[in-house]
């Protein structure tokens, strides 16, 4: 078999094993959360009998191992179970499935993440290359200063500052990013502009600095000197001779930041009242809605593992020694 394909499949298998272990960790952690859903929903005054009856109804009376197997079995078939809170207390009614709760939220999060990533990734690569090209110049220092400042300031602060200047003082953008599934694409872009900008400011520094460092690190290589002494221009040296060999570290940092865009944006969602998956998870934790919390955690785990796998694959396919064996 093609050695690359083999390595990729190996990594994929390893990723699945990791995911399985993570699912156990998630389940255990959620089980160990203090308080339980039945008391939370029925209130302090509920009698022990009502609580027990309710627990039976949603399956909380069974031993944890059984509940885990039941849960993971369902997940494998694409069934994440039903949300506790939508069961509407003892009254019954039609319970909403976890999937129907998470899907629109995840779509929103992915939209915002892609929006931010499409701006941030090219921007930080270009800035990183320019900073490496004009290293130690005013431009380099300025880029470093600005990006470092933006990463050092808490993201909610950036969010409010942007809101103040770009939505309130200068009414250029929507201050709140309230969207519904019916919002048309262009309006959605406009409404998401400020949260996306906030996220860009948060993640650019990391990616840009790694691009710059990885390229500068390579500039000491003998083949770069060879290229210089062939009369190759500085820009071409960076773009054609250094960058292709710098992908592995850059890809790793990009992967981490893209994962952050999906997993870690709850603060930005709250500030802009954006209906993303982070907010859903926080709400579900406070409501003790275990199936939703578990599903969100699993989505986040998949995101991390997936992006890291992608970064690994990038470093494999950009290494000519692995791509084209002797």
């Amino acid at each position: 078999m093609n050695p690359i394909l083999k390595t990729v499949l190996q990594r994929l298998g390893l990723g699945l094993v990791t995911l399985f272990l993570v699912s156990i960790v998630i389940f255990s952690a959620v089980t160990m959360l203090p308080g339980d859903f039945a008391t939370a929903i029925l209130g302090q005054s509920a009698t022990p009998e009502t609580v027990a009856a309710f627990q039976r109804q949603i399956g909380l009376d069974r031993p944890p191992v059984l509940r885990y197997l039941f849960w993971i079995g369902g997940v494998l078939q694409g069934n994440f179970g039903e949300s506790f809170s939508s069961a509407g207390g003892l009254g019954g009614g039609h319970a909403r499935t976890v999937v129907s709760l998470i899907a629109p939220r995840l779509k929103n999060t992915l939209f915002l993440a892609s929006f931010a990533a499409l701006v941030a990734v090219p921007l930080s690569l270009i800035l990183g290359m320019l900073a490496a090209l004009y290293r130690n110049s005013i431009f380099d220092r300025l880029v470093n200063l600005v990006t470092l400042t933006s990463i050092s300031v808490p993201e909610f602060f950036i969010a409010y500052i942007l809101m103040l200047f770009l939505a309130v003082r200068l009414p250029l953008f929507y201050s709140l990013a309230s969207v519904s599934p019916e919002t048309p694409f262009l309006e959605r872009v406009a409404r998401c502009a400020l949260p996306a900008l906030t996220l860009v400011l948060v993640i650019v520094a990391h990616m840009m600095r790694m691009t710059r460092a990885a390229i500068i690190n390579l500039l000491a290589s003998p083949y770069i000197e060879t290229a210089r002494l062939k009369g190759v221009s500085p820009g071409r040296i960076i773009f054609r001779h250094a960058l292709p060999n710098a992908w592995a570290p850059i890809a790793t940092v990009i992967a981490l930041n893209l994962a952050y865009l999906i997993v870690g944006v709850v603060v930005v969602e709250v500030v802009f009242v954006y209906p993303g998956i982070g907010q859903l998870m926080v709400d579900s934790v406070s409501a003790r809605d275990i199936p939703v919390v578990q599903a969100c955690a699993l989505v986040f785990a998949v995101t991390y593992i997936g992006f890291n796998l992608a970064a690994d694959i990038v470093s494999i396919v950009t290494n000519p020694r692995l791509l084209r064996p002797r």
């Binding site: 009369g231 221009s233 292709p244 020694r321």
Partner: protein, 562 residues
């Protein structure tokens, strides 16, 4: 001297215009001073060098490491490496002072008029691009010709440099071809724009002798075909003797002596130049051994499924030196790994002092480990940079001999005397020592615990010739005093002559010839030994041409049509 003056001079001598153009000055360096930065201070590394190079002439620069050869070679392009600066002088190329030119003017000259061939082609090719793309980059970048034309030209150069399958060769990536082929590809890359001047910076130093001869022949041939001027930098006088019309000997950034090659070889003037010639005279008298200390018989070994050693037999008598000779990939170092127990053999046996040696390191007891020691090629990486010499030498003393306190101090001083280093060195870090001093410490570390066998893996190949000779003398003296046995691994036949009692010649994992030194080095040889011996450059400017003519003749004679 300007071109006009040169022409005037020549026309007065009654030569043709062609010859006049040929002997016009191409490069003139005057009063070149270069400083290098180390530990926040600037040190002078080139101290007022001047040289003149005419069109089509090859100038050899010779010297040990630190002589400033490479720095001067790069300065001839108007380039100083990061951490270096040119402080004074003129570098006039084709009538323009390169030191006065800006970055973009220099770029127009680099690659197109002046090209550079680096020592390690493996590191100097970009791993991410195909060879042909790198070879045509300068031509296309300088807009001298269209890409397809440039590629045809590159293939033509590959053919002239006798690279295998020249049409497909360029499609490969650097890691897919051998070191010798890469070095020729680098020459093709330098030649691509038909520059007036090429700087060759030790282009064959990293190669085996058998590969070196091919690369030398290819370079010499192509420089001659295109009548390119060249500066050929090397520490190996015999190599420079083949390539250069004129030789400059450098030391500590200063000129020692300059003369046409033949004059320099037959009649060196300065004591330092004479000492460079004398290096090769060290020669040990061969002694037959009696009691066999190490007996390797019928050993096979493999890495995974790849078999590296085939039925290797080596006998090493006590108190003697057996040199294992062969080019890279011949299995020399693997043999050392098998003997030290790092790589258990798949079959065969090793007996040490009459007893069977356990195959694995783990199965060997502490005393056995003490009796077999090793010295490595790179003293820089073999010593822990954060430990003082006292700790480096003291640790084996405590671990194996249980020496502490005053007894250990006595032994440390004794060791330092043995390796002829002052005891003050005990409190230094490895980084505060020179390469030769570090290798002495490595020898002391191996000797510290009274071993009976020391495996020396290319211990002098990273050192300058004069330093290497000192180390070899030290090893010989210690052998006489302590009756220790050496298994000496090397690719350098001059070293073999200097140190060995017996020789084992290895090729592709097999022993092709073995026996006492006098026997192996006297004809008739095994075919591979013959190739190895005849590939060692000699101090005769006609050696390369003669040996190539001889080999070609032998080939023609061997073929049925001839």
């Amino acid at each position: 001297m300007s071109i006009k003056e040169a022409e005037a001079q020549l026309s007065s001598a009654g030569t043709t215009t062609d010859a006049a153009l040929k002997s016009a000055t191409l490069l003139q360096i005057e009063g070149l001073c270069i400083e290098g930065q180390s530990e926040e201070r600037w040190h002078r590394i080139v101290k007022g060098i001047g040289l003149t190079l005419r069109r089509g002439e090859v100038l050899g620069l010779i010297g040990e490491s630190g002589a400033g050869k490479s720095t001067i070679g790069l300065a001839a392009m108007g380039y100083a490496r990061p951490g270096c600066r040119i402080t004074a002088g003129r570098v006039v190329f084709n009538g323009r002072d390169l030191l006065q030119l800006g970055e973009s003017d220099l770029r127009r000259l680099w690659g197109s008029k002046i090209a550079y061939v680096a020592q390690s082609a493996a590191a100097s090719f970009n791993p991410a691009h195909r060879l042909i793309d790198q070879c045509v980059e300068a031509v296309v970048g300088h807009q001298l010709t269209a890409e397809d034309n440039a590629k045809r030209n590159a293939v033509d150069l590959f053919r002239r440099l006798r690279l295998p399958a020249p049409d497909q060769f360029g499609l490969r990536y650097p890691h897919q071809v051998s070191g010798g082929q890469l070095q020729r590809a680098m020459t093709a890359m330098a030649m691509a724009c038909r520059p007036d001047l090429i700087i060759f910076d030790e282009p064959t130093t990293a190669l085996d002798v058998t590969t070196q001869i091919e690369v030398l022949a290819a370079i010499k041939d192509i420089v001659r075909q295109f009548d390119t001027a060249a500066i050929y930098i090397s520490h190996d006088l015999a190599v420079v003797a083949q390539m250069a019309d004129r030789v400059m000997v450098l030391r500590y950034g200063e000129l020692v002596e300059e003369a046409p090659t033949r004059v320099m070889l037959s009649n060196p003037q300065m004591p330092y130049t004479k000492s460079l010639w004398a290096v090769r005279s060290l020669r040990k008298e061969e002694e037959a051994g009696e009691k066999i200390l190490l007996d390797v018989s019928g050993v096979d070994a493999s890495y995974g499924t790849f078999k590296v050693l085939h039925d290797v037999n080596v006998k090493l008598p006590r108190g003697r030196t057996v040199a294992v000779v062969g080019e890279s990939g011949s299995g020399k170092s693997t043999l050392a790994r098998v003997i030290t127990g790092l790589l258990p053999p798949s079959s065969g046996s090793i007996r040490f002092d009459g007893k069977k040696l356990p195959a694995r390191l783990k199965e060997r007891d502490k005393d056995l480990l003490r009796r077999i020691q090793m010295i490595y090629q790179m003293p820089d990486t073999a010593l822990n940079p954060r430990r003082r010499i006292r700790d480096i030498l003291g640790r084996p003393l405590k671990h194996h001999l249980g020496l502490t306190g005053a007894a250990r101090q006595r032994r440390l001083l004794e060791l330092m005397r043995m390796i002829e280093l002052d005891e003050r060195f005990l409190d230094r870090l490895p980084s505060e020592l020179s390469g030769g001093q570090k290798q002495r410490i490595c020898i002391a570390r191996a000797l510290a615990i009274n071993p009976e066998l020391i495996i020396c893996d290319e211990v002098t190949s990273a050192l300058d010739q004069l330093v290497a000779e000192e180390i070899l003398k030290l090893l010989l003296r210690l052998q006489k005093e302590l009756n220790v046995s050496y298994l000496y691994i090397t690719h350098d036949l001059a070293t073999v002559k200097a140190i060995a009692d017996e020789i084992v010649v290895m090729h592709q994992g097999r022993v092709v010839e073995s026996g006492p030194k006098s026997q192996v080095l006297t004809p008739p040889h095994h075919a591979y030994t013959e190739l190895l011996l005849s590939s060692v450059p000699e101090m005769d400017p006609d050696w390369l041409d003669a040996i190539l003519a001889k080999r070609q003749g032998a080939e023609l004679g061997a073929s049925p049509s001839g």
